[in-house]
């Protein structure tokens, strides 16, 4: 009996070394398909990642067995659903190493997380003449919410410039911090350039002036371990669907002290503790920010995704992706007429490039016919395109299931591009 137990344990245990990409690929059913008669090579992971069977099954199991609304019913299913939802919150807390699970707010995604902070914290703390500091490499979702706020309040959006490698110019960033700065909101990892920002140094510099910092972690959370206590950031946002979880669920981490002082985001059910027509008392954290029935199944799926990447280990994922990145850079450098945009010394596995004389849209169409899925366009970062004076780029972004053979398929696809388009 004892032997049998040990054996079954061993079966479910993933060997720690070496990283077995073929085994990982078995977990992603969607990858086993042909596109235009060629094996699918999915290199659009910065847009969204594919989902492992474990995530799909967790959501399915929830709907098959436990579905119910949460925090209300006295019945068994509601109890289970509530438990599953709160288990998801605890998994996210561990994933980010937050101090308390009430610091984890579930939202639709990174975009909503940033809008929440802009519309609550921002509305209350930012006034006429105040300033919010962002960087030149932000995604539109970390630009527009602040523009809306600044317009409303008569505040000013300051943009920290970047150098030709696609790195923040540190002295220029420091110069922007001042007595009127109410918030620094920067991306942890650039979705276009792959640049990993020195976020710990950013937080420290801002904190010396008592300025809180929001980090957009949409492109960081899938690729490296994140420890919000070590970073000491005040807010951290990420999306479930970019970390192998479902769409429609994301996370805002906020320090409890800040969240408690913030007004609610939306009004509705679950965010109140008592309502009369004269007065409403708001619920405690985190429920104050979770009005309405949340995406319960999405949280269950996100929890499964976190289990999945945690079991493999984010350090190992990061190390493997760095291998892929270096391989891809080496091979792409040899493609005639190809220029990579962004050469940060700290870089995640995202490569943007342009091919001389060819528009990315045409490149993308030819690659697609070769089964290679890349993103073409401005990647929701038009100011960044302007900075590098390109209308658009082609972007290949890697995930833990990509292989060196797929890097070769990309390169072969680019030679085909030349053949077809000249």
């Amino acid at each position: 009996m004892g032997t049998a137990t040990t054996a079954s344990h061993d079966v479910g245990h993933r060997p720690r070394r070496p990283f077995d990409v073929q085994r990982v690929r078995e977990d992603f059913p969607i990858l086993k398909q042909e596109v235009h008669g060629k094996p699918l090579v999915y290199l659009d992971n910065a847009a969204t990642t594919q989902k492992p069977r474990q995530v799909i099954e967790a959501e399915q199991q929830f709907y098959l067995h436990d579905n119910s609304n949460i925090h209300r019913g006295v019945h068994e299913l509601s109890e289970r659903a509530t438990q599953a939802y709160e288990d998801g919150r605890e998994k996210v807390r561990r994933f980010l190493n937050a101090r308390e699970s009430r610091e984890i707010i579930f939202v639709r995604g990174t975009t909503e997380a940033i809008n929440l902070v802009a519309q609550t914290f921002g509305r209350e703390r930012v006034g006429a003449g105040d300033e919010i500091v962002i960087s030149a490499m932000e995604h539109h979702s970390n630009i527009v919410p602040w523009q809306i706020l600044c317009q409303e309040k008569g505040a000013r959006l300051r943009v920290a410039p970047i150098n030709d490698r696609g790195e923040l110019i540190w002295e220029e960033f420091l110069k922007l911090l001042g007595a009127r700065t109410r918030l620094v909101a920067v991306t942890h990892v650039s979705n276009v350039l792959g640049t990993v920002n020195p976020v710990k140094a950013i937080v420290d510099a801002a904190h010396r002036l008592d300025i809180p910092v929001l980090l957009d972690g949409a492109q960081a959370a899938p690729h490296q371990p994140v420890d919000v206590q070590a970073l000491d950031c005040d807010f951290y946002a990420f999306s479930g669907h970019k970390v192998y979880g479902p769409t429609g669920v994301g996370v805002l981490y906020g320090k409890a002290k800040l969240l408690e002082a913030m007004p609610p985001y939306q009004g509705g059910g679950d965010m109140i503790s008592s309502v009369t027509f004269e007065k409403t008392t708001y619920n405690t954290l985190p429920y104050k920010f979770e009005a309405g029935t949340p995406n319960v199944a999405g949280v269950v799926g996100l929890g499964a995704a976190i289990d999945y990447v945690s079991e493999i280990g984010l350090e190992r994922i990061a190390a493997y992706e760095q291998e892929l990145l270096q391989d891809a850079i080496r091979k792409l450098e040899k493609v005639p007429g190809l220029t990579m945009i962004g050469a940060a010394r700290q870089k995640a596995a995202v490569i943007s490039f342009v091919l001389e004389g060819l528009h990315p849209h045409d490149v993308g169409t030819v690659l697609d016919q070769e089964g290679v899925a890349v993103r073409t366009g401005h990647h929701c970062a038009q100011p960044l395109m302007d900075r590098f004076q390109v209308p658009a780029t082609t972007r290949a972004s890697f995930a833990l299931y990509n292989t060196h053979q797929e890097v070769d398929a990309l390169v072969a696809g680019l030679h085909k591009v030349r053949e077809v388009l000249g």
């Binding site: 045409d362 169409t365 030819v366 209308p391």
Partner: protein, 147 residues
């Protein structure tokens, strides 16, 4: 591959690399801007209208091979046509690239865009110049967008 060759026909590649009437004319009397936010294509189309006849066309901007070639061929095709003829051609061209019509008889050189119908996502690229033309003819002030 065969699909790609239908999309990127020699005429299209030629016009995308050497666009005709790619200039800022001195004497245009109508112009409009077109923008395709999806891929960042942006063109400005200039017309010289003499009564209801288009006597000159030119364009500037940047875009993918399909949108550039489409703008280039539009400027060649419509010179000397009346505004009514231009609008009729737009209708036929639109039907061609969206796969609603197979016949290419009256389209002349524009028939090279027949392959676009196999690539629905590229329809916007092929029609950007035409939407811009419509805006210029209607005297639109606001840039047209394909979104």
């Amino acid at each position: 591959m065969s699909d790609l060759r239908t999309l990127y026909q020699e005429v299209i590649l030629d016009h995308s690399k050497r666009p005709r009437n790619f200039r800022l004319p001195a004497d245009s009397n109508r112009q409009a801007e077109g923008f395709n936010p999806l891929c960042g294509d942006r063109i400005t189309l200039y017309l010289k209208l003499d009564g209801d006849r288009i006597t000159d066309l030119a364009f500037q901007g940047s875009g993918c091979a399909i949108s550039t070639a489409s703008a280039s061929l539009l400027t060649e095709t419509l010179r000397g046509k009346t505004t009514a003829e231009a609008e009729e051609l737009f209708g036929k061209f639109h039907d061609l690239v969206t796969g609603k019509a197979k016949g290419t008889d009256s389209l002349g050189k524009l028939a090279v865009f027949s392959g676009v119908s196999e690539f629905p996502i590229r329809v916007k690229c092929a029609t950007l110049a035409w939407h811009t033309l419509k805006s210029a003819l209607e005297g639109g002030e606001k840039p047209v967008s394909t979104e």
